[in-house]
């Protein structure tokens, strides 16, 4: 029970931090309004999906280093398939790319289970492989995205019965993010499978002895991670209109947001809400730095330093919080 409060307290604290940063942003730039919030959410989209991908795997007691490369591969695949194709063709591309993410993620899991090589090494190897595959699909940034896909994250969603002033604060991108995450996460969390994922992350041996199919659960966790990463890749293509074969800084960002979001790197603890709020916080910090007219390169350094500090803090908490004698 106390853990429940502590976890929710962490998320509430993060949310308070977000609001505080928002007020700060408003102070720095009094004109910061709904339109800017919309572009913040658009910038958050790929990060949020990368974080979701990482969260599932970390809860299951693993780590997925191939998240960013997976996003690059799915993004270039989508962009090159939609290049010069009709608008309707994109209706086929989206499910295809999502299925590709699911399969490639499952492949990660299968490799880990079958070869018994630690997840960190397997996903490092698949990081290289996926990166190479992305380069094979598209040698240089290019491709195209269907117009309706691009339009689906721009602007706001009119909700009947709400005044325009509130409506303006509901960008389509936010709706898309919430819908995509909820469709997968809420049923998962309430199902036996979700419980199994938490169980193997908490203690693999205990889970095995209580009859949880450890191997299958792990494969499914990685498959879900691949699915989320594919969504992230799609949003990358949607927001830029092209695909870039070089992975962005999503790996470190995803790990940092997972740690900041209250998900223990050892596994078995935390939820999806915390990391998602955390990623909003991290992005808003970047916005603030930009608004303060700091050189974008310096911003990158500060951002990197914050992420490293967060990860260090998280690791420190993990060693402190581990009860004596519970060494794996």
């Amino acid at each position: 029970m106390t853990r429940f409060f502590r976890n929710q307290g962490w998320v509430a604290g993060l949310f308070a931090l977000f609001v505080l940063l928002f007020v700060l942003t408003k102070l720095i730039q009094p004109g910061y309004g709904s339109g800017d919030f919309g572009s913040l959410v658009r910038a958050v989209l790929p990060y949020a999906f990368a974080v979701a991908a990482q969260t599932v795997v970390v809860i299951a007691g693993g780590i997925d280093l191939s998240v960013a490369a997976m996003m690059a591969l799915t993004s270039v695949t989508a962009a090159s398939m939609m290049n010069g194709a009709s608008e309707e063709y994109a209706l086929f591309v989206v499910p295809f790319v999502l299925a590709m993410g699911l399969v490639l993620g499952a492949l990660n899991g299968i490799l880990i289970v079958v070869t018994r090589v630690p997840d960190i090494v397997v996903t490092l190897a698949t990081l290289f492989v996926l990166q190479g595959a992305a380069l094979l699909v598209l040698g240089a940034p290019g491709g195209a995205a269907a117009d309706w896909l691009k339009a689906s994250i721009v602007g706001t969603l009119p909700i009947p019965g709400l005044p325009d002033s509130i409506d303006a604060w509901v960008p389509k991108a936010l709706v898309l993010l919430v819908v995509c995450l909820c469709i997968i996460w809420i049923p998962l969390r309430r199902s036996k499978l979700g419980l199994s994922i938490y169980a193997i992350g908490s203690s693999e041996l205990a889970a095995f002895r209580s009859g949880v199919p450890v191997a299958r659960t792990r494969i499914i966790a990685y498959a879900l991670s691949g699915l989320f990463a594919a969504m992230g890749g799609l949003t990358l293509t949607m927001s830029t209109g092209i695909g870039a074969p070089i992975p962005g800084p999503y790996l470190l960002a995803s790990v940092a947001a997972v740690v900041l979001g209250g998900v223990a790197l050892g596994g078995g603890k935390g939820g999806l809400l915390g990391p998602i709020v955390a990623v909003f916080v991290l992005r808003l910090v970047r916005t603030d730095l930009t608004l303060l007219a700091i050189d974008p390169n310096v911003t990158a350094i500060i951002e990197g330093a914050i992420m490293v500090a967060v990860v260090m803090f998280g690791a420190f908490i993990t060693i402190r919080g581990r009860p004596a004698g519970a060494m794996p």
């Binding site: 190897a125 698949t126 492989v129 595959a133 040698g139 790996l251 470190l252 490293v308 260090m312």
Partner: protein, 328 residues
């Protein structure tokens, strides 16, 4: 790799070969190297001559030194992904500072970021217990950001490659690359340190069983901090050597070497889980990879395919290694 060729033979012999490979990992590696050179000679008759040999050695040396960083960190169960950034930084700083500074001052300035990044890595891994992969990835991001900021301050002053580095990187004396003058003592030093000194034994001890090492009085964080500083310093020196070879300072100079350096150490028989391996195997691993790269270039394999192959090599060799160790 050569184990697949011995599969059809009777089991007892196969097991004996496996045992032999586990005991003397150098022999199959050298056989593999010779096979690759023979294939190259068959594909392009006459390519294997003195000049080719000198060239191969020249390009293998920077890779071998960086792979040395990976070998040492991997012995403790870690990895150093910041070597590419560190090498690039020191090379870039050297090339830009030599314009206005005394060579000795420029050298010291070039080594500063290496020491700093090594120190941060070491503290993060040793004191805060962040996973080395995440930690070094983070510092390499920060380093790249710093380099970009630095680049803008020196954009007007231009850059040049010091004659000495030019001589060291590309020059030949009696058909031998001058880089050997740097590499041979360095390699001897690393091999000697790993095999004969207390520090080397500590690295193996920490990697083999960290808890046992701690309980027997090893100060874990001191060993790790020293290790990552040394690793960074080696990477910095590699950067200087590499700029003499490539002769074009850029912000991503040594980045393409990171992945092969990990692969070289893994091929050379160093366990990515720590505690096993050595530097001689790594050197041959670097040679194998350099010859392999030539081979792939001749076969006109695109960069993407090369990355896929390297990723698969890391995965396959690690899995095979796990099998060999388990069987004993």
């Amino acid at each position: 790799m050569s184990s697949s060729a011995t599969m059809p033979q009777p089991v007892s012999l196969g097991r004996r070969v496996k045992r032999f490979m586990a005991d003397r990992p150098l022999v199959p590696l050298i056989i593999l190297l010779v096979i690759l050179v023979v294939i190259l000679q068959i594909l392009r008759p006459g390519i294997v001559n003195e000049r080719w040999l000198a060239n191969t050695v020249k390009f293998a040396i920077p890779l071998a030194i960086l792979a040395g960083c990976q070998t040492m960190t991997m012995l403790t169960g870690g990895i150093d992904l910041s070597v590419g950034t560190v090498a690039t930084m020191s090379a870039f700083i050297m090339a830009t500072q030599i314009v206005s500074q005394d060579p000795a001052v420029a050298f010291l300035l070039a080594m500063m970021p290496a020491i700093l990044i090594g120190l941060i890595n070491g503290i993060g891994v040793g004191v805060f217990r962040v996973h080395p992969l995440i930690m070094t990835l983070g510092t390499s991001l920060i380093g790249t950001g710093c380099l970009q900021v630095y680049q803008r301050t020196v954009i007007a002053s231009g850059a040049k490659i010091p004659d000495f580095l030019n001589w060291l990187g590309t020059g030949l004396t009696y058909g031998f690359p001058n880089a050997l003058l740097l590499f041979v003592p360095l390699a001897v030093l690393i091999v000697f340190t790993l095999r004969r000194t207390g520090f080397g034994r500590l690295l193996y001890a920490v990697g083999d069983n960290e808890r046992a090492a701690r309980l027997s009085g090893v100060r874990y964080w001191q060993v790790i901090t020293a290790l990552y500083v040394i690793s960074s310093l080696l990477a910095g020196i590699t950067g200087l050597l590499y700029i003499g070879l490539i002769k074009a300072p850029s912000l991503s100079l040594a980045e393409p070497l990171v992945l092969p350096s990990v692969a070289a150490a893994v091929i050379g028989g160093t366990s990515i889980f720590g505690g096993r391996g050595g530097y001689t195997g790594t050197i041959i691993g670097a040679l194998i990879l350099t010859v392999l790269t030539t081979l792939l270039t001749i076969l006109q394999m695109p960069e993407g395919a090369r990355r896929i192959l390297f990723g698969l090599i890391v995965l396959f060799v690690t899995a095979a290694y796990l099998r060999i160790v388990e069987e004993r």
